[in-house]
Symmetry: C2
Subunit: 412 residues, 2 copies
């Protein structure tokens, strides 16, 4: 099955917003085994939308449209589909009551006359519920094609796709269930990781797809079968083999990320943590605080940017700073222990380094980072040379520190 | 003039990367007065690319292609353009020496036989220099259309567009210069801001285009004229009128952002700063540290997540915490003064609030934030109720704190 995506909205063509749906939908369609051959964005213009849909119908089996389902005159997706496939457009009172008015009722408002447009049925289209907004979607079959009309706002589109579109597509493909599992790796490069599992990546069911971003590596394993349980059974041995080969880099699954796993491990181990940050400048702490419930493990942090703050709040001695410099193994260890004592936490973690663009020397180049982890008994300092610009050095240093927290919690 | 954008690359259709060029190019094309009617992404497939280019030639005057200029067999943009417009494809030794080999020489490497493909000239195409990579661009005129082939990596594409494409487009439109100026506003909503300058937004030369994101508001004023100086003269009165109406919200221009302006103001005023963060959890400090040269103003910060840390490191009294709660005007003031003293900075800034999803009450709901700013003599605390999820509350609280720093520095 061939699919294509059409985003409708002049604001995309003006560069005012990104066509952010394309990536989300493409990833999932690839995972369930549907090939996407085109992404197109087109403005709020019925004539051009109709021409594009006629073209799309020649080359694709499935057409997913996003946007243009609002109540205004500019919202033309229903008209476009009706025009391209010569279908009637009729107001459906029942759909209006079922899909449009409930949202207004919850807000204590009354729909306007305009909103009736949102219950116009395209041909024999099936309405798709949208509990998060006023625009129901539609599934229209015409000329042997499967056409899905979805709302533009991501918070409405994504759940509608998952709940009402994906199951229909899986069904159309003759499968009853498609299951994905994601392995999350840290500390291994994209090409090395792919080399280790090249044979598994050649598989067809399950498929194994790699994705790399900012020092992290992700593999998505996807299987299709008659039932979800059978699909899981197809995934299990492939996952086991991947973990056998790459296990030491695997830190999480599915929606995990480094900060959420670090937080979970700390909570499981009943340990509190604190951070002493220099070059990361609060970013490391902020990544942890972005996880709901971070107060269960985090006591606090000190961003010790100036050496005086390292001495005053973290009790790093002036002698040590003079002898080794602020970016050194010794100072990293002292900062970790200093913040642990200052905040009364179980574990102290420090980052000190040179984020650039200035401040690098031959001995201590831009990208040099020391990360210290201590529990008051044992202190480990890791030295890393990170490539990239100031922002990348800071992000990667913070991520590496989170990975070290995960590893430290594993050992206990 | 009508333009369309074509992104070439199977990785976009698989959802592995975003088509991030579309927004950048569309924004700039809109600013210089060229209408963009389609964005399309297509895979690394010559047949489909040729079909798409033939379609594009029927409906657009200018076609901008991004991607597919690498040295591998999958890089098919040159072949696609040659095929669609029936143009010869010839290896150009001179272009190879001028545009491909220098990049390798700088890296101390030798180009491979494959790289010769990157010097294949499409028809009578003009090569566009790419000092940042191995793939020169090309400007091809065929069938009365203007076709630009640009590399995929953003760090190569964007400067090539600005240096070699934009001036040619401006020229094609019969203008010699197009100039944009950006006004950056904080503290006013999108609809209120637009209402204030609706009459100016109806203008044609200069155009005034709004852009809103995460609590900030941007207006881009663009004028075209025979010379840059004349274009600036067209912009000046419109900018002056906008500042007359919206001046109190304008915090910066062009590439400024809240953190860079806050840092610049602190440095100008020779003031050092420190932050005491609770719900923002290091994010505020991190925004400042993301600006190169932040060490010129930032001394350090304390993330006081646990009340014990507020007491220990910021000298907030237990009595005050008990009487008013951690999220209160009193504690915000005490945290600001506490961090100022602890780090020895001139200005202390604090943020304490409830980011959610839990922890809200009727009196102190999720989104309630207090921001304190003190110079040791005067302390001001601002109360805000911020809507959005945990991440949004944290980002907007941090941005508001930066805005208050800018305002505090203005007064001196």
């Amino acid at each position: 099955m061939r699919a294509e995506l059409i985003a409708v909205g002049t604001e995309i063509l003006l560069g005012q917003i990104d066509n952010s749906h394309a990536k989300f939908l493409s990833q999932d369609l690839a995972a369930i085994g549907i090939s996407v051959f085109y992404h197109t964005a087109v403005g709020d213009n019925a004539e051009r939308l109709i021409a594009l849909l006629k073209e799309a119908a020649k080359r694709s089996d499935v057409i997913l449209l996003t946007g243009g389902l609002g109540p205004t005159e500019d919202d033309l997706t229903r008209e476009g589909v009706a025009g391209a496939f010569d279908l009637p457009l009729t107001f459906d009172e029942e759909a209006f009551v079922a899909h449009v008015t409930p949202y207004f009722e919850r807000l204590g408002r009354t729909p306007t006359e305009n909103n009736k447009k949102q219950a116009w049925r395209v041909g024999t289209g099936i309405f798709l519920p949208n509990p998060r907004g006023t625009a129901p979607g539609q599934y229209v079959q015409a000329a042997g094609k499967h056409i899905f009309l979805l709302p533009g706002p991501p918070l409405e589109m994504r759940p509608m796709y998952m709940e009402s579109v994906r199951p229909r597509l899986v069904n159309l493909m003759g499968e009853s269930a498609i299951v994905s599992r994601v392995l999350r790796l840290y500390g291994i490069g994209e090409s090395s990781a792919e080399l280790e599992v090249k044979d598994l990546m050649a598989g067809v069911n399950p498929t194994v797809a790699p994705l790399a971003s900012e020092g992290e590596m992700v593999f998505r394993i996807t299987a299709s079968a008659q039932t979800a349980e059978l699909a899981h059974r197809l995934i299990d041995p492939v996952q086991a083999e991947m973990e056998r080969r790459l296990g030491k880099y695997v830190y999480g699954y599915d929606d995990d990320h480094l900060a959420s796993v670090a937080l979970a491990r700390l909570v499981e181990n009943k340990k509190t943590v604190s951070f002493a940050e220099s070059c990361t400048g609060g970013l490391l702490t902020s990544l942890l605080v972005d996880c709901a419930g971070s107060s269960r493990a985090l006591r606090g942090s000190v961003v010790a940017y100036d050496n005086a703050v390292k001495m005053e709040l973290l009790q790093v001695s002036n002698e040590m700073l003079q002898a080794h410099g602020a970016v050194s193994e010794e100072v990293a260890a002292a900062m970790a222990e200093g913040v642990r004592l200052a905040t009364g936490s179980d574990v102290g973690v420090s980052v000190t380094g040179i984020a650039g663009p200035d401040g690098g020397t031959k001995e201590k180049p831009v990208g040099l980072v020391y990360i210290g982890v201590t529990d008051g008994k044992t202190t480990n300092v890791t030295r890393r040379l990170i490539s990239g610009d100031r922002t990348q050095v800071r992000i990667r240093a913070a991520k590496h520190a989170l990975f070290l927290v995960i590893q430290a919690m594993k050992k206990e």
